[in-house]
């Protein structure tokens, strides 16, 4: 009886293993673990600010690979990964005030569901060092990896035979086209709270470290690097802590000295309400304006 049971369990386990191995090889063959490749020369990366404000159809020869809530450390690892098979000539990275806020980084780095998102979305380039640095639970990492690597990816297989789209890559969201406008004051408060905290403001040492790492990365690979501070609504801008603005300017001044590193600060353009999706993101109208400005700038530096 027991032997029969164990034999059945073993047989079924072998059957499952074969299926998962097959799925694993198919995933490697078709998706190269989801490594994105593009013939474009200008790569736009960063968080939702890059996603909402930089329209790749306006910016010549560009692709927007922004991802919601992405922190600078993740952007850095993502670029290292992407640079291996892409020929990046120019990099545009959104660097807003909240990007260097300790409170924002805390929320992103310590929040459990965000960490789960990191495992789920960024698994193609996660390794033990990054996992340690991000403080992600190893158990979750390995279950997430097993999930992503071993399971058949039917929807991706389907997409492989069609035009490659951003949705094929979990760590890329792309340009967010939006015509709506929602300037709800309650959302402003919660946004400010999430970005800057309540009373005591501190700068994130992790963010600063990675800004310099990104600069080094660009220099090493001879890439033009443009940090862009995208427009935010006046009501949001006024509430950004003064100390943060000062420290931001300090970093800006230091980085600007480096060759091929540029800083575009559009945060205080004083645009009308109709340019905004919400208090800290532009909608399509705002994106058009910013993208045209950036395009003009890029043409000049080339």
């Amino acid at each position: 009886m027991m032997n029969k049971f164990l034999l059945k369990v073993i047989k079924f386990s072998i059957f499952c293993s074969i299926c998962f191995l097959l799925s694993y090889f198919l995933n490697i063959y078709f998706f190269e673990f989801d490594r994105f490749s593009s013939s474009k020369k200008t790569f736009i990366v960063g968080d939702s600010h890059a996603m909402c404000s930089l329209n790749p159809s306006i910016i010549e020869n560009s692709v927007n690979l922004g991802s919601k809530g992405e922190t600078l450390n993740i952007t850095y690892h993502k670029l290292q990964y992407l640079n291996k098979i892409n020929n990046i000539n120019t990099l545009v990275i959104s660097l807003s005030y909240h990007s260097i806020s300790h409170n924002f980084l805390e929320e992103r780095i310590l929040n459990k569901s965000n960490l789960q998102k990191v495992v789920d979305n960024y698994y193609p380039f996660l390794n033990s060092n990054i996992i340690k640095e991000l403080n992600v639970d190893f158990k979750k990492y390995y279950t997430g990896m097993a999930n992503n690597i071993l399971l058949p990816r039917f929807m991706y297989i389907n997409n492989y035979f069609q035009l490659p789209e951003m949705k094929n890559y979990p760590y890329l969201d792309g340009f967010k086209y939006s015509t709506s406008m929602n300037l709800d004051k309650k959302k402003l408060e919660s946004k400010l709270q999430g970005h800057f905290g309540e009373n005591i403001f501190t700068i994130s040492s992790v963010a600063v470290k990675y800004i310099y790492k990104l600069v080094e990365f660009s220099k090493k690979n001879q890439i033009n690097l443009i940090f862009i501070n995208t427009p935010v609504h006046n009501k949001y801008y006024e509430r950004i802590p003064k100390e943060l603005k000062e420290q931001y300017t300090e970093i800006q001044t230091k980085i600007k000295k480096e060759p091929n590193i540029y800083f575009l600060d559009y945060s205080n353009l004083n645009l009308e309400d109709s340019f905004y999706l919400d208090f800290d993101h532009t909608n399509n109208k705002g994106a058009k304006l910013v993208s045209e400005k950036l395009n003009f700038f890029l043409k000049n530096i080339k």
């Binding site: 009886m1 027991m2 029969k4 049971f5 059945k8 369990v9 079924f12 059957f15 499952c16 299926c19 789960q116 158990k139 979750k140 279950t143 997430g144 097993a146 999930n147 071993l150 399971l151 058949p152």
Partner: protein, 477 residues
């Protein structure tokens, strides 16, 4: 340790192999092993609370023995009360102390009298309501002389702490489970296979159905002010499937795990959402608790015998106590009250036992009348779940006021429809399984390719959604 954790996936096969290959020599060895692995299982969560299970087991073991020796009624009653004091006292302290203090202070405060009592920072020991009721059932049965007291301390301790059902049931009767610890268990291939199937089905319900529904239900319930009436109704439906998948999934895993060790636990859920009236629903939902209250509260109070007034009193008593069992919150008490109100008309009309058998027994398609009955019962239970799920009574009132507003007829904001097909799979699959103990029984006679395909399909879905470790709802009870 929780079932949907990596630890358990390692723990279970290890325990299985050790049990059947090393500790299978004799009964004592089997029971010692059970006791050890059950205490490790529980201690994984917090070893400090092992003492509570130990004391509860020890007290009831000796009270049971004394009840067997004493013939004087007064002394027997005293012993029974002693068991009540120890077990319900512990439960009351850990689970209800703060609730009583807060309610006491609030009620005086509403009269203008400010009292200054401090609440305690008490951790609720996982599963305390379950194992307390299990040991109580032993003492009560021995007191009523329905069961002989056991002198086998190992068997008794193993019965109280049996790990598959220790933290969230089914709440076993001593008369069913305890005798199984008196005999050496022998491996049975068919039982073990059935157990594996039931575990798989349980994980599907927990990880794929409940955890996914939880994402949507939690979002809607936590931000209910932002949504329309129709969206809130959808939120309640998602919660209905969350709690069903969560709790019945846990029960399936527990029952299936027990089968692997040659132990048969009672059925806890019999497809409750296919019930045609509330009475039938309560015969199919959390059966081990409903029957516990029926046998140890409802019947001793007089049950359905006596005057109408007595009958009504008994119905309210059983539902309110059952609500209160779930937690120290007014929402649970009102949830119980609402269910009593639902139940009452059929009890008064004498129709509460009209729907005893399985719906559409000889057909795959229910009659129109049955469809309406099922949908209406589901709607009623859904509305009651709103109270159960709300954090406060005020929240549930606000939730209802939005549901029953004009916005019910607006276009709902569907938060995420990705998980809806899984609910559909569950409902259809369970409909065809409704004559069986669990969902995978129906494929037993199919070709092995079909069976293995079905298992693999479920395993893929489980791996896909595994890792969230969202706690079982009933752990908090």
């Amino acid at each position: 340790m929780i079932f949907d954790s990596l630890e358990f996936f390692i723990y279970l096969p290890t325990v299985f192999i050790l049990y059947w290959f090393i500790f299978n020599k004799n009964l004592s060895l089997q029971n010692i092993f059970f006791l050890t692995v059950s205490y490790i299982f529980y201690g994984w969560w917090d070893w400090r609370f092992l003492g509570l299970i130990f004391i509860s087991s020890l007290v009831d073991y000796f009270i049971g023995l004394s009840l067997g020796k004493v013939n004087v009624n007064k002394k027997r009653k005293l012993l029974l009360y002693l068991s009540f004091i120890v077990n319900l006292g512990t439960l009351g302290f850990f689970k209800y102390y703060n609730f009583f203090i807060e309610s006491f202070v609030d009620s005086f405060s509403s009269l203008g009298v400010e009292l200054n009592f401090t609440t305690l920072n008490i951790i609720l020991p996982v599963g305390i309501s379950f194992y307390t009721f299990q040991t109580l059932s032993y003492t009560i049965d021995v007191y009523k002389q329905k069961l002989k007291p056991t002198s086998n301390i190992l068997s008794f301790f193993a019965f109280v702490s049996f790990f598959p059902q220790l933290v969230a049931g089914p709440i076993e009767r001593a008369s069913n489970l305890l005798p199984q610890f008196y005999k050496t268990r022998k491996f049975n291939y068919f039982e073990a296979r059935d157990g594996m199937q039931q575990i798989l089905w349980g994980f599907f319900k927990k990880i794929v159905i409940a955890d996914n529904c939880a994402i949507i239900a939690n979002n809607i319930f936590e931000n209910y002010q932002e949504y329309s009436g129709i969206t809130l109704m959808i939120g309640a439906i998602y919660f209905a499937f969350q709690i069903y998948g969560d709790f019945s999934g846990y029960s399936d895993i527990a029952i299936g795990t027990a089968k692997l060790f040659g132990i048969k636990l009672m059925c806890n859920f019999k497809y409750p959402y296919f019930s045609r009236d509330i009475a039938e629903f309560w015969r199919r939902w959390h059966i081990s608790l409903s029957t516990w209250f029926r046998d140890y509260l409802y019947i001793p109070l007089g049950g359905s015998r006596g005057s109408l007034k007595v009958k009504i009193r008994n119905i309210f008593a059983i539902f309110i106590v059952s609500g209160f069992w779930h937690g120290a919150n007014w929402t649970f008490i009102i949830w119980g009250l609402v269910n009593a109100i639902y139940f009452l008309p059929s009890m008064i009309a004498g129709t509460n036992r009209n729907n005893i058998g399985i719906v559409a027994k000889n057909s795959n398609i229910p009659a129109m009348k049955e469809i309406f009955q099922i949908l209406f019962t589901f709607l009623l239970t859904n509305l009651a779940w709103v109270i159960f799920r709300s954090k406060t009574v005020m929240d549930s009132i606000n939730y209802f006021s939005i549901i029953f507003s004009k916005s019910f007829f607006s276009i709902p904001n569907f938060p995420d429809l990705r998980f809806f097909p899984f609910i559909l799979i569950l409902v259809i699959w369970e409909w065809f399984s409704r004559k069986h103990e669990h969902g995978l029984n129906i494929i037993n006679n199919k070709h092995f390719i079909f069976r293995w395909g079905a298992y693999l399909f479920l395993i893929i879905l489980i791996i896909k959604y595994f890792g969230r470790e969202s706690p079982f709802i009933y752990f908090q009870f």
